[in-house]
């Protein structure tokens, strides 16, 4: 079986299926969610039933509906933050690789400074300073992750920028945009796509972690991370409720990683065998 001319493995297929299911659930939540996610419908920690497949949460809201709606926030924010990180990271990383000299030094030292502080710590400081709105959340994660993407993009582009075909383009008199977009980017895409998948997972777990610490998404909205936190109290009581959002986090992470592994395996294969 093939996708965009690339040979699919069975694990990649499972990964793609998981991602489609999660994203589909999030996108179509208003139509497929059985109940209002923010409306208490019954008793605290109600057990799973025909009416409520995954039971009720700590104030009696339908768990399944909350997970579907929570996916919108979790996946949406993580995606926005990752896209932001990649746009900033790739532009700066490629510029550093192509220009070299002081441009490279400036960007690289900024990256070193940012990376010298643990990322969670930086995030806590920035978010405490600017407030816990979703905009601040996305910008913070996007910025912090762009530093990591910068490093990868720079390294990948450095290896490509020294190849003869890039030199040919420079000798022809091509501008910077052509060199970056037409000569380097297409060849850097597979490793960057793999990195995108990984970063997305981390962003998504990061939001969950911030929410768990109370600095992420604020009630009554909930992402999967904050749902785990809210229902964590139920664990000692032997109630399965917190396991459902946690399982959703795990499932999506696994799905994305399966696809990433597949992309990486294609990249490391010699040219031409996937055509």
């Amino acid at each position: 079986m093939k996708l965009f001319g690339l040979r699919l493995t069975s694990t990649a297929l499972v990964g793609i299926f998981i991602i489609l299911a999660c994203v589909g659930g999030a996108v179509f939540a208003p139509w497929i969610a059985p109940h209002d996610p923010n409306l208490p419908l019954g008793g605290r920690w109600g057990p799973p039933s025909a009416e409520h497949w995954l039971g009720l949460d700590q104030i009696g809201r339908d768990m399944l509906s909350r997970i579907l709606y929570g996916g919108r926030i979790s996946i949406g924010l993580a995606l926005l933050a990752t896209v932001l990180a990649f746009v900033v990271g790739i532009v700066t990383g490629f510029a550093a690789a192509v220009f070299g000299g002081w441009v490279d030094i400036a960007f690289s030292r900024i990256a070193d400074v940012v990376l010298s502080i643990p990322i969670l710590m930086s995030a806590l400081i920035i978010i405490s300073g600017f407030g816990t709105t979703t905009t601040v959340l996305v910008l913070t994660i996007g910025f912090l992750y762009s530093v990591l993407v910068f490093r990868v993009a720079r390294a990948v582009a450095m290896n490509i920028a020294v190849l003869d075909y890039v030199e040919v383009a420079r000798l022809r008199g091509e501008g910077l945009m052509w060199v970056i977009l037409r000569e380097i980017l297409p060849n850097a895409l597979p490793p960057l796509a793999a990195e995108f998948g990984l970063r997305f997972c981390f962003a998504f777990l990061f939001i969950a972690a911030l929410s768990f610490l109370g600095l992420g998404v604020q009630p009554p909205d909930a992402d999967w991370g904050s749902m785990v936190k809210e229902s964590a109290l139920a664990i000692p009581a032997g109630i399965a409720a917190p396991l459902y959002p946690a399982a959703a986090i795990a499932l999506l992470t696994i799905g994305v990683n399966l696809v990433v592994d597949w992309l990486l395996s294609i990249y490391s294969r010699p040219q031409g065998e996937n055509a």
């Binding site: 003869d164 075909y165 040919v168 000798l171 022809r172 000569e183 060849n187 055509a275």
Partner: protein, 549 residues
Amino acid sequence: MAQMRSKAEGQILDVRNLRIEAVTETGKRVTLVDDVSFTLDAGEVLGLIGESGAGKSTIGLSALVYARTGCQIAGGEILFHGRDVRQLDMRGRQNLRGVRVAYIAQSAAAAFNPAHTLFDQVTEVALQHGVMNRAQARRDAVRLFGELELPDPETFGNRYPHQVSGGQLQRAMAAMAMIARPDLLVFDEPTTALDVTTQVEVLASFKKLIREHRTAALYITHDLAVVAQVADRIMVLRGGKMVEQGPATRILQKPEMDYTRMLVAERVAAEQSRFVEGHAEGDRPILEVRNVVAAYRGTIKVVDDVSIDVQRGDTLAIVGESGSGKSSLARVIVGLLPRQQGNVVFDGVTLRPRLQDRSKEQLRRIQMIYQMPDVALNPRHTLLDIIGRPIQFYFGKGRGEVRARVEDLMRQIDLPADYINRRPHELSGGQKQRVCIARALAAEPEIIICDEVTSALDPLVSDEILRLLRRIQDETGVAYLFITHDLGTVRRVANKVAVMLKGKIVASGPTEQVFSPPFHPYTGLLLSSVPEMRPDWLDEVLSRRRKAG
């Protein structure tokens, strides 16, 4: 096997109906070596000749019962002293490799560990297999270093790989292979990566070593002249199959099969071709380089006071060994390496030192073709993109016109028109180099700088490329600046030549004149180092040099 063995006599290796297969990603089986048989007696050298992909190295490695990852020895027998070594278990194979059969690879630099001294690495096999103790092994290594004519054999082994030259390292690898006194040596293109002047010395050491120790050897190379110096018998391979096999002199003088005849004819042409005639038009050179000085990082001078002229429609070759500064000179001319002093004048106009300061029109008129077509072509672009871009970029043509012109150019370089949407990995090495030529032509340049354009290609393919370049010159009147280390190439394409040594031009002028006596001593050294197909060539050169002192 702990004690030293007496030298083996009689038949060493008997390979029967060898078949080696590879399994691709998609599970398809490909036959790399098909039904190859040969025998090897003590003290005998069998040369394996063929182009890349002929299966030479694969056969060489099979003598060590080794197949590269993804490959397997699928059929046939490999009898070593009459015993089928394919039946050996892992331990038996370990006792065979390095001890009774040893391998000498093309790149010694990649075969040595940079973190250990040469003594440690040369003696390792003998110590590990308990053939000798440390003191014995060391003494023996010193003796081998001496035999291989390495400098200061007593202390040579204390050095690390990066502290010796490429030719010395290659000889150190021969010492490493010889230490356990194997019955069979496998030489895999051991001099291909060396400069011609170094190659002569290394080749001579190898020959002496094999003769004195009466070791049987498989000598793998693509160069008929090299194999003529060392081999008693030659086997010609093509696409994994044997073409013919016989005594070296018979194969070289009276080849029976068409393919061998083609290989020999190509090589003879390289040796004997007349000097080519010039095409020079007009009196003012299209390119004048005047007293140019350039350095890397401002201090390491690589081009030192160089002056050359290239006439319109003419070909100037720059020859020299690696590190002579010939490629740096090309980089100075195109502006990738800004010159520090001197002038580069193109069609009467002085070019700015830096590429970025030159006009688009100036860039268009000087094009460049590279050594490695694999990395000179963007793997994600189609031929239409690759050849079409200069047309679009320099002449602002629309899509239809670009496509029509690309089709024209593809016809000119003899590529089928339906290749237009292919990507580089769907082409052979020679076809890729043709595409590079077409891309250069697309800019309609007045001069093309060819930087070692045939050195990565097989002899027959590079012959075709040289012919193509000549034909294009006849048709378009483009001038070439030909950078190469291969004097055969120079003879065939260039009517003028400049010899470079350590950043300076030591001799220049019409090829016929530079290559005829009396020549500059370095030109003489270069010329006398090019292997010839006469089997006694190497001995003659050595005795002549010894006389000259």
